[in-house]
Amino acid sequence: MESHADLIAADDVLLFVNAAITATGQREFHAGAGAQRLSLGFLHEYLRVNYRELYAATLALGCNDHNAALIIQALLVHADEAAPAERRTEGALIARRLLTLPPQRVYRLFGQLRRAKVNNRRTRAIIRDWLAARPEPAFDAVKYRSGLKAALRHTHLAPTEAELGDFLFAPKRRAHYDAPLLDAWRRAHYEQPALYELPFTVAEGFAAKHGIARGAFLERIAPRLTRLEQLRLQESARAHGAQAPAADLARMPLTRLASYTLALPTAERRERRAELTAALRAAAVRAAGPLRGRWGTVAAVLDDSFSSYGSGTKRRRPLAVALAAHHLLAELAQRYTAHWTSGRTDALLAHPLGPTPLGHRVLDALETSPDLVVIVSDGWDNAPPGLAAEVLRVHRTRLDPGHRTSVVHLNPVYDAEDFDVRRLAPGVPTAGLRDAEDLPALVELAQFAQGRTGLAELRAHLDARVAAFLSQETR
């Protein structure tokens, strides 16, 4: 028999998981960055104080990098609240999650721990282990110089090599470094060709110092670009007339690729239709993996209303997620139909415009008698308001009492006011969605959460996820 408190706990945790997947503390269409941060800050504190164990376990649940860093920071700052038994799991979870975080985020997190004056034995051990696991200390010393320096200074750790210590703390002591990367950094101060041996972000600063034209710089630095830098700088390099090799779009992650596509002007999208569609399809096939073609008849309702523009800081993010989901669902399903809220049919030319008549589109989707309806929307149904909820309710109670069609709502936007993603209807499971790649897992999770989940069940699920997460190979 489940107690009332247990049900509340389960609800709270599911709510937090939605928030931790979607919220990034940045401005959204309806709320400013301040409101987002305030709301998220409260949620983190609430979870940490009340359900510390479950709070730590969400690190295993695919929460986004921003929230992972916040969780780790909160756990380390309030280390004394943890029971001795919890510490071991917590430490393992933190160490494991740090390995999947991008290094710049980890160094920023270390900086924040330093500012919060957290320097307990556990924190030092965690930083030490993470630094020891970095594959190339010299690369970190060059690319994340200030971050590494601050981390070493904070924890009083000795650098692994003597040369590295000099490089970070007394760079002028040596006239020459043995490690080629360190020496390139030394030479780049006065020798232009040396800067092309450095990582892009570091070389960029030296290029500005030497007054190198942007076009020429981008062309020569091209081989040193990371995959995402390549994608990000494609259009900029072209505008500066650099003859850099085009990024291999097919290798890019699906949602990033969708963002890139939507940033292109319509005329160019039309011109490069074959190339972009092929790349999106290839990325979707990769994301679908073994599930490809296993989902039966699927109808998607995709939101391309004006609010899918997101904000200046998250430009077209909700629309990009919808576009990525469109391609992914097309691969997962045997038969697939897409229904954009604007009524347009050409997904590649999607553009955030117009109101959100979700109710009418849901009706269109239901008319194809699908096994599964996936709604990707920020949940602001306004033409007319609340019609989608009514349509779904009446459909469930009157037309489909046997649950032949299941409906899932995936929401890419965190609603700061409700501390959750905005829901469409009480009977429809809603899950937060950050990257379209997570869609298969979320749809399954949402369907599982359709019945009221008890705490024991949730705990078991979390324990399984934690065990799987900890035993995973890194990357």
């Binding site: 117009g354 109101p355 306004n382 033409a383 007319p384 609340g386 019609l387 349509v391 009157r398």
Partner: protein
């Protein structure tokens, strides 16, 4: 905050030469579901068939924060904060017109006309054979400010020398700048413009605050942010500051009787129709059902630029505004301003006085009050200086002596 006032006397007749009673005709404009944010509710109006031979364009008047001066005639001026003017372009043969500044051939017309020196503005000014520049809302407000501006038509002995010589001048009214209306900026920013949308009705705490209609959807898209630069009545400001967020009019479909998807779809469409009907007959009734006094300002091809004044009925919605109508009287352009209770009262008093040739006793009789009460009411409406001081003092004495329950009876 804006303070339009007329600072020099005007003894010519106000521009109400051909007053004409009529109601607004929203034929061709369909109501779509409202979107609300905080206390603000925006109801989009969609045109099935956009008007192409009349286009509107905004011209910004960058100001240094101070008021602009508009010359009405040789002796009177209108002073207010004026952020922008509208430019109307039309064609005489019914072919598509282009909004000013978007034509390819702009060599002979500079893209932006430098701001005229102070005092050179006009309310409506022909700039070309088929181009008119006018100051939106100020055109209508000026009509309200100039209402019986000349003062008493017969020099009854109660009126002061100043009233006889200068009339109501200077006449001043206050309004709020849209940027100061809390929540309006956010409501406009997150509003999702419908395809084909040509207008919007702005409700604050479900009281109709302003209406705005343009000929073409692209004009609307360009002019949507201009709503933030407009003037709003006192009521709008108070309601947004005091009101809690409004609930949306959520659709609700009764479950019983629905057996197929087609029936469900029909029920959903029924919802939209019901909303449009409810809105047009209930929410917007104050603007659409009441009769207005219309006067023509300018004729441009088959279109006419008019301004209209409300009937100044107390305890009712009173909207003044301006319209551009075609030869059938259908709206191509509409912009309204809601008068506050005090402004309505002032308009009411002035129009009642004018109807009785400014004779105090007869007006008082028509309003069902004593002369003294009417005198004090004039004073509290801000027209005290029109009455002679000794007459006003006499009225005060009479009322204080207790001329009975009439003193407190509302009109």
């Amino acid at each position: 905050m804006t303070t339009p006032d007329l600072s020099t006397p005007d003894l010519s007749t106000p521009d109400l030469t051909t007053p004409d009673l009529s109601t607004l005709d929203l034929t061709g404009l369909a109501t779509r579901p409202a979107q609300s944010w905080g206390a603000v509710r925006l109801v989009p109006l969609v045109r099935e068939q956009p008007i192409t031979d009349l286009r509107l364009h905004r011209r910004l008047y960058p100001s240094d924060g101070g008021p602009s001066v508009v010359r009405l005639d040789d002796r009177s001026t209108y002073t207010s904060y004026i952020p922008h003017g509208f430019v109307a372009d039309w064609t005489r043969d019914g072919t598509a017109a282009a909004a000013y500044g978007t034509q390819l051939d702009v060599a002979e017309h500079p893209r932006s006309v430098p701001l005229q020196p102070r005092g050179q503005h006009r309310m409506a000014r022909r700039e070309d054979r088929t181009r008119l520049r006018f100051l939106p809302l100020h055109l209508a407000l000026e009509g309200y400010l100039a209402l019986h501006f000349n003062g008493p038509v017969i020099a009854w002995r109660e009126w002061s020398q100043r009233a006889i010589r200068q009339g109501l001048s200077p006449r001043a009214e206050e309004a709020y700048f849209g940027g100061e209306v809390s929540g309006l900026a956010d409501a406009l920013r997150i509003f999702e413009i419908h395809p084909g949308q040509c207008g919007v009705l702005l409700y604050v705490a479900d009281a109709l605050a302003a209406a705005f209609v343009v000929p073409h959807p692209e004009d609307y898209r360009a002019l949507h942010p201009s709503l933030l630069h407009d003037l709003y009545g006192e009521l709008v400001h108070h309601y947004t500051a005091l009101m809690l967020p409004l609930p949306a009019f959520r659709a609700s479909i009764p479950g019983p009787g629905i057996r197929t998807l087609a029936q469900l779809r029909a029920a959903a469409e029924q919802q939209e129709r019901e909303w449009a009907e409810f809105h047009d007959t209930t929410m917007a009734a104050g603007l659409l059902a009441d009769e207005h006094t219309v006067s023509t300002v300018y004729r441009m091809g088959r279109f006419t630029l008019n301004r209209f004044l409300p009937g100044f009925q107390l305890k009712r919605e009173n909207h003044l505004g301006e319209t551009i109508t075609d030869e059938h009287g259908r709206l191509a352009y509409l912009k309204t301003f809601r008068l506050s209770e005090n402004q309505t009262r002032r308009g009411h008093l002035l129009s009642r006085l004018a109807a009785h040739d400014w004779h105090l006793a007869r007006t008082a009789e028509a309003l069902g009050v004593t002369e003294a009460v009417l005198g004090l009411r004039l004073e509290s409406a801000g027209f005290g200086r029109l009455l002679r001081q000794d007459v006003l003092d006499g009225f005060r004495k009479q009322v204080r002596a207790g001329s009975g329950p009439t003193a407190s009876r509302p009109v």
